[in-house]
């Protein structure tokens, strides 16, 4: 089989597309495949081919003098991938596209967090305990006004909720946390044992109000 581009060498790279009943295929020699950007059939991201409109990929390869797009290149608007992700946007500062973020899972610069904010929140939800920062804040930078601070609530026992732990157990739990905090593990182990003993004997069993 000869290469469909140079029509000289033996074709060793074969691309096939099936849409409904329509099958299209492209046979290239190694030289032309390399030139058109499909040198490594595995590296040529099979995923890209499957995701995108393959016709345009094949079209781009077939078009004389025009190689397949490097999907990493912040591309021309013609490419369907870019058009599709236009709503996801592209970072104006570092050029990171939404598609690239999705592919690598990495952001390009701090500005990207503003650009991809919406898409990011769903990713963050599955990844972290919350989607808002709780913790150290640089000096002189205030926490976002009005931002919910779920942990602050969790810390101070909400007044209305009946606590299942009798007061002495609560104190023990606090002591334990404190001992762990100052890395006094011997004390921590003793308190832990005390809590266990109390739970076992029933003195520390869940208090009535429920």
């Amino acid at each position: 089989m000869e290469c469909q581009v140079c029509k000289q060498r033996e074709a060793t790279v074969h691309l096939t597309q099936i849409v409904d009943d329509d099958t299209r295929s492209l046979d290239l020699c190694e030289g032309c495949a390399k030139q058109k950007g499909v040198s490594d059939p595995v590296g040529f991201a099979l995923g890209d081919l499957l995701q995108d409109d393959i016709t345009s990929v094949l079209g781009a390869i077939m078009a004389p003098g025009k190689g397949a797009k490097d999907p990493k290149e912040p591309g021309e608007p013609k490419e369907p991938r870019e058009a599709k992700d236009a709503k996801g946007g592209q970072c104006g500062r570092c050029g990171m596209s939404h598609a690239e973020f999705k592919k690598t899972g990495r952001l390009g610069c701090s500005e990207c967090y503003r650009v991809f904010g919406e898409a990011l929140d769903s990713v963050l939800k599955g990844m972290h305990k919350g989607v808002r920062h709780v913790g150290k804040v640089p000096a002189g930078k205030a926490q976002e006004p009005g931002a919910p601070e779920p942990v602050a609530e969790a810390k101070d026992q909400p007044a209305g909720v009946p606590t299942p732990i009798p007061p002495d157990m609560e104190q023990l739990a606090r002591d334990l946390a404190e001992a762990v905090g100052r890395e006094d593990f011997e004390a921590a182990a003793k308190i832990r044992d005390a809590i266990r003993a109390a739970k076992k004997s029933g003195t520390g069993a869940k208090g009535g109000a429920a």
């Binding site: 500062r93 570092c94 990171m96 899972g105 990495r106 952001l107 390009g108 610069c109 701090s110 967090y113 503003r114 990011l120 990713v123 963050l124 990844m127 972290h128 305990k129 919350g130 989607v131 808002r132 920062h133 709780v134 913790g135 150290k136 804040v137 640089p138 000096a139 930078k141 205030a142 926490q143 976002e144 931002a147 779920p150 942990v151 946390a177 762990v180 905090g181 100052r182 890395e183 593990f185 921590a188 182990a189 832990r192």
Partner: protein
């Protein structure tokens, strides 16, 4: 000349001690920080990467705790030097692969290290022997605060400290401890522990971090979530979980010693036998057997002062240390290293008394432990 000459001598490193260091070998806390106006290192062109490097290296070197320490650009290091730093857990494997535009700064005590242009512009870590997570956090928190007085770092009130990978977003903190769990491995309970720890949102990894094997019964436990929890909460959670794993490991050892003493003695005795008598041995086998030697010290089969020797062997039998300390050759092949490693082990263990179960008193009359 090797970077080894500028690091603390192996004999000193192997004598470092900390609370609970029989089971918790080391504690580590690292923070990820970035400059607000330059692309993250992985996405930056050479020029921007160099800008970040040139801005940050002098600032980092000037921070109080790092003054008078070591500062090296990665491109100046040989592959062997880089591997040495990885074996010491001073830089990450990822950072060791870096060249121009990346570097690290290490304090004299080797307890604080800052990597410049790793995955983030700054990766700052605090390393301590034994279980000392709160102390490690306090040290790196102070360094970070000092840094932030010198440079602006990327921060959003909503997302916290901004990082190249969203998995580090928020606090940018990774709190981890290296645990030696031969008891749980021998009792075949370690799988349950890993599962339970996983349910708490914590990760368990091998000796050199992400994607590495749990050699030598060593497991690294760390937090995965960095957003929505404060640093002290994360540190405390890890401390509590580790304390529990510690208890399980102690119980597993006690129960093995009570029910199957012979199995334990057999493992330790054979480990000693192979280490002290082999004529070629891989680094993987060495790590696994040295782990059993540690166990032998812990349960009293070997004298307590053997522990530092085992620590030392653990370090010097790893490929880069082995080559730097015991070979004049430019580069050793894997087979040559295996032979050299066995020579070193035979030599060091020749003077060591054999593991002796009589140190523990007479064995019970319940007959040989099963299995």
């Amino acid at each position: 000349m090797s970077i080894l000459e500028h690091l603390a001598p192996v004999s000193e490193v192997s004598h470092r001690t900390g609370p609970h260091d029989k089971i918790v070998l080391s504690s580590r806390v690292r923070l990820a920080r970035n400059l607000p106006r330059l692309p993250f290192p992985g996405h930056a062109k050479r020029g921007d990467r160099m800008k970040a490097y040139e801005e940050l290296m002098p600032v980092v070197q000037g921070l109080g705790p790092l003054q008078g320490g070591m500062a090296e650009p990665m491109e100046r290091l040989s592959n062997l030097d880089k591997q040495l730093l990885v074996e010491r857990h001073i830089v990450s494997r990822e950072h060791a692969a870096k060249g121009t535009g990346s570097g690290f700064v290490l304090n004299r005590e080797e307890s604080l290290c800052v990597m410049v242009n790793e995955e983030d512009h700054l990766r700052m870590q605090s390393l301590r022997p034994g279980l000392q997570l709160a102390a490690a956090w306090a040290a790196i928190d102070a360094l970070d605060t000092e840094l932030q007085a010198e440079v602006d770092v990327a921060f959003s009130p909503r997302y916290g400290f901004l990082t190249a990978c969203p998995t580090n977003l928020g606090t940018g903190i990774r709190v981890s401890a290296m645990l030696h769990l031969p008891g749980l491995v021998l009792a075949e309970q370690v799988g349950q522990i890993i599962q339970a720890v996983g349910k708490l949102g914590l990760a368990v990894r091998g000796l050199y971090g992400e994607g590495t094997e749990a050699l030598g019964n060593l497991f690294q436990v760390s937090n995965q979530m960095t957003l929505g929890e404060s640093e002290p909460e994360i540190v405390e959670k890890l401390s509590k979980v580790i304390l529990q794993i510690l208890e399980h490991e102690e119980n597993a050892r006690k129960s093995l010693l009570g029910k199957k003493p012979r199995t334990l003695f057999n493992h330790v005795g054979r480990a000693y036998g192979i280490l002290a008598n082999s004529h070629t041995i891989s680094s993987k086998e060495t790590l696994n057997l040295l782990s059993l030697m540690w166990l032998g010290v812990d349960i009293g089969l070997l004298p307590p002062e053997t522990r530092a020797l085992v620590n030392e062997l653990f370090l010097v039998t790893q490929p880069a240390h082995l080559q730097c300390l015991f070979s004049n050759k430019e580069k050793l092949g894997a087979e040559e290293r295996d032979v050299l490693r066995s020579d070193v082990l035979r030599d060091r263990l020749a003077r060591l008394e054999r593991p002796d179960h009589r140190r523990l008193g007479p064995l019970g009359t319940e007959g040989p432990g099963s299995d």
